[in-house]
Subunit: 411 residues, 2 copies
């Protein structure tokens, strides 16, 4: 048990900033130290170093070479860099014996996911995707309700990343944002883990169940171009850009247990934010978009009056709030999810235990990007999804004893 | 122009009953005559004949042989029989020169859709799928908003048939219901036309656009079995039945214009009714499940407060109600949609004109059932969707002058 957990943070763009200022600096007095920070842009590291020094009294080491961060005497590496560098950094960190907390994102090659698994298995170092949505208030409440059997057998789940990112993609931090190049060049489910992570926890993926295969289809790409021309005019440097990324991507996944998962990527058209989290079972379901619960035998009188069910999920909070959310007042970004996911990671580092999201989860969730790209590029051909556990999913149990584990359910 | 439109109704189960009592009998005083009715079950025809005689003063001819109805001196045939017999009856009616109004349902063989098209082209007789949802209040308002450009270019649409039919499938009219055999034996998008019909009108399918290909995946089938055992016990005659039909089927269709359509069949799990109608464009969208409109430039301040948009569609009614719904007080079943769709059909019969939903629409919408069955049975393989217009979709215009046409938009 470590009194002080020393962290290196690689990537100081918007996400690194949010985690450092929103979670890590507040955790300073609970024994979390930001030892070093890294970014290719020196203005980013200097600004964050100033803030860290001001709030904690000690200035982190700053560099643009992530190897120097990994070589430091730190316990764990947080990877908040551009998507394309997550795996490379994670592999180097594991080889150096440092816990890996990797921000969300997809993969670019199937081989990379196997490398993460192989390296974690060989070194014994955990690699946790920091999927904050696994710690969402509703996601955890619904997980709790599922485990208590309220919805019966689960048959299908939906989720997505419905977030109007047009401004960020095109002009984020003066075009430094890595999303731009991805939207220009790739066409895939580029951000699968919201809401696949929480859904996989609901369905016991890699623990008694697994993802078998998927198909993926993309719409045309019209949203970004229209936004750019409308907002900046036809002379803007992006006005003639041809975006490869379809505005809407639908990916349908079939599980070994027969469950169907539908993921939607939806980031370049106007709308309000949602993760579209939906869980359907033989006895009931939950719909994030209406924040509604339906229980068979209780709500059937409203079969033709769905509005009466809107916003009723809050009525279940007292009884079904996940233990992690009972008496919890959110701090940090994204409604407290960032705090909870980092706490879970840091607690595992502190105790030297496995992380509640492990390398098999990380690899399984990331690989959807490349598989969806392959399916879209071949007109929707189904793609098999690898079993990164090599058959162990049939016997792996929930890891339910970690204090911040997703799987801890009280009675 | 016919003063009296004489109809034969083939199929007197629940649907025939609703149309006769809800729409046709009320239309008697506007020159609609129910000349003959047909069903394999005599108790059905006798009961309806009694009602028709009581309300209109004349008793229809009753038979269990649909050929005798088609041979009568009628102007049009309404087909409200079991799904499997729609095409056979429609072909016989067209051959006899009778307009065909065919209830919704999917196909069982691709060849059947071509037969409908070929026969309609050769005989010159229209064949209209009576897709009442095309006449839904919100569907028509949103169509109106789309045509006026409020949502910009349309990029994606969702729709589905979300209707808990467990009781009807298993025990409808003492097991006489044709859904039972379909759920026992088939696994497909068995009811595609809600909401594909309205979506095709939005996207101009067969009129400047067309459906290109689809993939389809199904969940396991758990809902019906659990319902039966829970409700009737393990000794019920259906308790050991193995249902082929997955509880949730997702079908993703790509259009020639690059639009993505996602259809969901969802009829054997507990939930409230919805058609999940969703239209997404570069300037805004509509979501039936929240009855919400989002317009870019107007609603962006609510990007992270979606609840503020819930139920706002009614604010658009005064300005954007479709002409068909202005000053219209719904009569008959299904919120007035049944009335409007039959009125549209009867008006075409009366005037001898083309129907607003024509044989190309009918064939295109129906064929999704067989194509989804093929895709599901091959693990999600993409299936090409035939061009029933044989290339004419590139030049076909909206048929916008029929009084009850879907495409009539006032300024």
């Amino acid at each position: 048990m470590k009194d002080i957990v020393r962290l290196g943070v690689i990537g100081c763009g918007a996400r690194g900033d949010v985690l450092i200022n929103g979670v890590l600096i507040p955790l300073h007095k609970e024994g979390v130290e930001i030892s070093g920070i890294c970014d290719l842009y020196g203005d980013r590291t200097q600004k964050l170093a100033d803030q860290i020094e001001k709030e904690t009294g000690s200035r982190p080491f700053c560099t643009d070479d992530y190897h120097k961060i990994i070589a430091m005497d730190v316990d764990a590496i947080l990877i908040t860099a551009a998507w394309e560098y997550h795996v490379e950094i994670a592999l180097a960190a594991m080889e150096a014996g440092k816990y890996v907390g990797m921000e969300v994102g997809g993969n670019f090659a199937m081989e990379d996911c196997w490398k993460l698994v192989d390296t974690s298995e060989r070194t014994g170092i955990p690699c946790m995707m920091l999927e904050n949505c696994c710690y969402g208030k509703r996601e955890l409440m619904v997980l709790n309700m599922v485990k208590k059997g309220l919805f019966g057998e689960i048959v299908a789940c939906d989720g997505g990343y419905h977030h109007d990112l047009r401004e960020e993609i095109a002009y984020g931090e003066e075009n430094r944002h890595y999303r731009l190049r991805n939207y220009l060049h790739r066409n895939c489910e580029n951000y699968p883990t919201h809401e696949l992570g929480p859904i996989c926890k609901v369905l016991g993926i890699n623990r008694g169940n697994r993802l078998l295969s998927l198909t993926s289809m993309a719409s045309s790409a019209k949203g970004l171009h229209e936004y750019i021309v409308e907002k900046k005019g036809t002379e803007d440097k992006l006005a003639k850009a041809q975006f490869a990324q379809g505005d809407i991507v639908k990916t349908v996944i079939r599980c070994a247990g027969g469950e169907l998962i539908t993921l939607t990527l939806d980031t370049t058209l106007p709308r309000a934010y949602s993760r579209g989290f939906t869980v359907r079972g033989t006895k009931g379901g939950y719909w994030e978009d209406m924040d509604a619960v339906f229980l068979d035998g209780k709500d059937n009188e409203n079969d033709f009056e769905p509005k009466k069910l809107w916003d009723n999920a809050k009525d279940y909070e007292e009884q079904y709030h996940h233990p992690l959310w009972k008496n919890y007042v959110p701090v940090g970004g994204h409604d407290g999810m960032d705090f909870l996911v980092l706490q879970a990671f840091i607690e595992a580092v502190r105790k030297g235990t496995q992380t509640p999201i492990d390398v098999y989860d990380t690899a399984t969730w990331m690989c959807i990007s490349t598989l969806s790209e392959q399916s879209i590029s071949t007109g929707g051909m189904p793609q098999p999804i690898p079993d990164f556990t090599r058959g162990r999913w049939m016997e792996r149990k929930d890891i339910s004893q970690l204090h911040y584990s997703l799987d801890q359910i009280s009675d």
